[in-house]
């Protein structure tokens, strides 16, 4: 217990550092403080974090965008898109409402939602702002607020940079070393292309094969609740979606090895939802249009 208090105090002290650019300095500071006060374990962890952070600090919004595009282009070799322009517009409108109400940093080229033509129940998102939702997942939503829950969860993964965190730190430092020369030659770009390939591989292993960690899934659910409430959507609809997912999965943890079960996610939400201000219930206003836009799904 004592150690947790120490970590908490250090965190509180360092929470006054606002910008991402000072994260490395912060971690190095935490490391020095921890080491000098006898908390070597925390000290070495913070120092390790500082070197990972140094590498990721150099990633610009544009870099994130191009990585995201590479991931999306790869995903789309595995999945076909589902074309329905009015339902697509509907999903993008919901996404826009959620992101406009968010105080977080914007995406380089905005967010875009696309449907995938498969009955598999799944959703994916990239650091390029691309959000993919399968027909199978869409069928699970009974109303607009439930749809908003799915989209909000994906937006949260993007805002929390989960796909980028899947990329091994060494890949970034390699890529940055290669562009140290004044002019980026064609040969230089070919090297970068290889790095891109490796990075996409890292993201795929995590996003598609293993699934994000439990902590990352819980964090995304927690942030999604706020995104929903700030837009006027009912965060309690998150429960509905998870209960539906549980029915479908029938107690299996599905494809993912580390993915938390719907039950575990529900437990996390029980906790997080206490801190969210539930908006006034306006769901009836969205009922008709939900049926209109999703009638294809029947």
């Amino acid at each position: 217990m004592k150690k947790i208090f120490k970590i908490a105090i250090i965190t509180l002290l360092t929470s006054f550092f606002g910008s991402c650019a000072t994260l490395t300095n912060t971690l190095e500071f935490v490391g020095d403080v921890a080491n000098s006060t006898g908390m070597e374990e925390i000290g070495s962890v913070a120092k390790a974090g500082a070197s990972i952070s140094k590498a990721t600090e150099s990633i610009t919004p544009e870099n994130e965008y191009y990585i995201g595009r590479a991931v999306a282009a790869t995903l789309l070799t595995n999945y076909k898109t589902f074309e329905n322009s009015s339902e697509e517009l509907y999903l993008n409108l919901i996404c826009k409402v959620l992101t406009e109400n968010s105080s977080n940093s914007e995406m380089f080229n905005g967010y875009h939602v696309k449907m995938l033509d498969t009955n598999e129940v799944n959703a994916f998102s990239t650091s390029g702002g691309h959000i993919f939702i399968t027909k199978g997942m869409l069928k699970c939503a009974e109303d607009e607020d439930s749809l908003a829950a799915v989209i909000a969860h994906e937006i949260a993964h993007i805002q929390l940079k989960h796909s980028l965190k899947a990329i091994k730190a060494s890949r970034w430092t390699n890529a940055l070393k290669q562009t140290a020369t004044a002019v980026v030659s064609v040969a230089g770009n070919a090297e970068l292309a290889n790095d891109m390939n490796d990075m996409v591989g890292d993201v795929f292993t995590e996003m598609v094969q293993n699934g994000y960690s439990k902590e990352q899934e819980f964090d995304s659910d927690t942030l999604a609740l706020t995104l929903m409430a700030d837009s006027g959507y009912n965060p309690n609809k998150m429960y509905k979606m998870l209960e539906m997912l549980e029915k479908i999965q029938n107690g299996n943890t599905g494809v993912y090895k580390t993915h938390p079960s719907p039950q575990e996610r529900i437990k996390n939400i029980d906790n997080s939802i206490k801190k969210v201000k539930i908006p006034e219930n306006t769901e009836s206003f969205r009922e008709k249009r939900f049926y209109f836009f999703t009638k294809i799904e029947g």
Binding site: I7, T14, S15, F17, G18, S19, A21, L23, L27, I42, V45, G49, S58, I59, T60, P61, E62, N63, Y66, R69, A70, A73, T74, L76, T77, T81, E88, L89, N92, V97, E100, S103, N104, S105, E106, M107, H112, V113, H130, Q159, A175, L176, T179, A180, T181, A182, G188, N189, A190, L192, A193, N197, S213, E215, D230, P279, T282, F285, R286, R289
Partner: protein, 159 residues
């Protein structure tokens, strides 16, 4: 690993939200194109647009919106969304109006850009970039958004 995650999460959480900027801070546009509006309101008239990397000085700022002054022309003032700005210098080799030195241009080549993507496409011909380009063209117009929010009794910004 868990400890790293804990520290990271605590610190990341504090850096996640677009915090208002102090008056006089130098900021850069961190998105491809940022709309510049006449006033602070979400519904205000759009008076221009600024490209990635363009430099501004902060006049006034809150969590959602920031009033900025173009660094190269102090008569040009307008409001942009706070989330589209960054204190960290970003370079845009395509922005002919950005004042960059040769060093800055070389630094901007670091990491991934359009050129790197073109090289990547060449060595991976099965990738579906065409579809990605199509997806990025999906647009939600301001008017559509406003009526969607109104009809659905949802919220938009602080209004």
């Amino acid at each position: 690993m868990k400890k790293i995650a804990l520290i990271f999460f605590c610190l990341m959480a504090t850096t996640l939200f677009a915090k208002p900027f102090k008056k006089g801070t130098t900021v850069y546009i961190a998105v491809k194109i940022a709309e510049i509006k006449k006033s602070e309101s979400n519904y205000s008239e759009v008076i221009g647009a600024a490209a990635y990397g363009r430099k501004f000085i902060v006049l006034e700022s809150n969590e959602k919106r920031t009033q900025v002054q173009l660094a190269d022309d102090k008569t040009r003032i307008g409001w942009v969304s706070t989330g589209s700005l960054t204190k960290k210098k970003v370079f845009n080799t395509n922005d002919k109006m950005a004042s960059t030195t040769l060093d800055e241009i070389s630094i901007s080549g670091k990491g991934f850009s359009e050129e790197a993507e073109n090289a990547y496409k060449t060595s991976n011909k099965n990738l579906n970039y065409e579809e990605v380009d199509k997806i990025e063209k999906i647009e939600v117009f301001e008017k559509e958004l406003l009526s969607f929010v109104k009809e659905g009794n949802l919220k938009l910004g602080t209004e």
